[in-house]
Subunit: 362 residues, 2 copies
């Protein structure tokens, strides 16, 4: 309600307001959650990460009996000019083909979202192709693919801001629909390259430590990819002054959308489940804008993509799963949505020591 | 059908027949599963562990379209004479109180089994207390708690065999009810102590490397527990000649039940999801009886109990989750039941490249 300005104002700086709106987690709700968890019929803390998830959910939602009825995976789709440098195992056309697959319900994210009881929204935020037949596609194209970052900027500054705002808008619309838990998803052939570039610049880290095999290039391909990213960082150096200008320089549009989704999701006190490598790049941009956003982000898994580990180590984050996933689309996040929901059920449904007539132990 | 002998013959060696019945996974079904997984619309292997789980499920169930409709968590309950040595943070009475909680549906395993769509069966296999009012409790008590292993054997050899047979019988009954996926669960104050003793003897490993804090004893308590276990290993040395006699010497009854469940679950080609530290001890006894059983076991999580890591390292097993759980009851296994089901849905429901009109890439 407080956040109605999203609808009224379509200003370029809408994402800034979202970033400023994010509140630190309520200490009193955290304490309340901890007290209840410690009274449930189990040794204290014996449900490990599940308890920590429940604690955060309670503090985010600020409800006595938290409920996560409506869930949604938002898949942002963009293309990348840098694929012309030969950094990907798949041709660029696959982006559009996979969108068709998403809309037909046949992709991994469709299956795993069903498992989690979540809807899937597919957003064209920066596809090269203007799909004619694509029922259900949410059309918010900011530009038809990024520029080749090895030669210049991925996009203009105002395009980056517009793309972040698309994410903000999507979070707002989900909120209006009563969604309380959102997952970030991505599709875009070539998008590990801008993600690695962003990690290198924003963590910061050496390019080799954040660059991997993507969808399946070989060792030689990785070396080439490292050189391309180093070139991109050199070419764009002058324009990278802050998180937004860095994002504009290195791309991509789907990463910008994810950044906006994280910011506005947190501002509206939604549970934001972050998928893998690409989503973490978007989340990192959001964290650099306002570190408080971290309290609302649930990093779902450590991808097998080299560099993801570097991100988690540098940011002091422990992801929930480590299943060698490297698909994106929101697949890891969808799996963790289930675990978060399980943690909430533990919180709501377990008997307390008093109810069970047992004296609490250690 | 082949396995009807379970019903006919109640011989002490029934568990031996189960162990001998276990078949290695079918190579042709594994290949078939791999071929389909590689044809689904994702880069090869990009769903990591999920794909490996699906592969095994297909090879175990040997079905074109595998289905895991009925699921069940079997919680074996036993008491431990060794608690008189002061090795646990909770008094022995809690075993019976928690059984009441299980039957009332208020424990963590009840909640997480509901999340997984699984039934919970609670089996008194070795409780000290003979519960009068306990609707729904499955009564298969072999003896009223084990002996104090620091002073002598946990149980007689024929008692250990009977307890393993209870697990075999439970798997058989679940099979008859149409259950295709079972999870191992345990309850029994003090049961990390016999588990650590079994790990030390059967891996083998130094006692300190497999002994931890259980439900919450302090560092001094752990040192004492190590001494108690060393004493148990010394006192019982002469009688420990093979996996069964070792199990009889060190206990416990619920661990024996879990061992039998693993053997017979595998013999009947069920998916067997192994919970944490105590369940792994039972599974290890089964593995020492017939290593082929491993193909059917899905080790769900690495417990925060020290020593579990030693087990996984020595046995070359990678558990699915690492969430700092240390509750037992089958809670970690219930979480992983969901992930296994997700992996099966990926297998059954995703579109192939051909169906989606996409050329397979890397």
């Amino acid at each position: 309600m407080v956040l109605k300005f999203y609808k009224k104002e379509l200003a370029v700086k809408m994402w800034k307001q979202a970033a400023e709106q994010i509140q630190p987690l309520s200490r009193s709700w955290l304490d309340r959650a901890r007290t209840r968890l410690d009274n449930l019929t189990k040794p204290r803390g014996s449900l490990g990460s599940l308890e920590k998830m429940a604690e955060r959910v309670v503090a985010i939602r600020q409800e006595e009996v938290p409920s996560l009825r409506k869930k949604e995976v938002l898949v942002f789709v963009g293309d990348h000019g840098v694929v012309s440098e030969g950094v990907s195992a798949y041709p660029q056309e696959v982006t559009a083909l996979m969108v068709g697959n998403f809309l037909a319900g046949g992709a991994a994210i469709n299956v795993l979202a069903r498992c989690a009881g979540a809807e899937v929204s597919v957003i064209d935020i920066g596809m090269k192709e203007d799909l004619q037949k694509a029922d259900g596609l949410i059309r918010r194209n900011v530009r038809r693919g990024t520029g080749n970052i090895a030669k210049g900027p991925a996009m203009m500054l105002d395009e980056a801001e517009k793309a972040i705002n698309v994410g903000v808008e999507m979070a707002g619309e989900a909120y209006e629909r009563g969604v309380s838990m959102i997952a970030t998803g991505d599709m875009g052939i070539g998008n590990t390259t801008p993600s690695s570039a962003l990690f290198s610049s924003l963590l910061p880290a050496d390019v080799v430590d954040v660059t991997g095999r993507g969808t399946g290039i070989d060792e030689e391909g990785v070396k080439h990819k490292v050189r391309v990213i180093e070139e991109a960082l050199k070419v764009n150096r002058a324009s990278m002054k802050d998180p937004v200008s860095t994002l504009a320089a290195l791309g991509g549009l789907e990463i910008a959308g994810i950044c906006g989704l994280c910011l506005a999701g947190a501002a509206r006190r939604m549970i934001v489940v972050v998928d893998g490598f690409i989503s973490s790049a978007g989340a990192l941009v959001a964290i650099r804008m306002n570190p408080v956003v971290k309290d609302y982000l649930f990093f779902s898994h450590q991808s097998s993509e080299k560099g993801h580990q570097t991100f988690f180590k540098k940011e002091g984050i422990r992801p929930v799963l480590d299943l060698d996933l490297r698909l994106g689309e929101g697949t890891g996040a969808a799996l963790v949505m289930q675990l978060i929901e399980d943690s909430v059920k533990i919180y709501n449904e377990m008997a307390t020591f008093e109810e069970a007539g047992i004296a609490p132990g250690a």
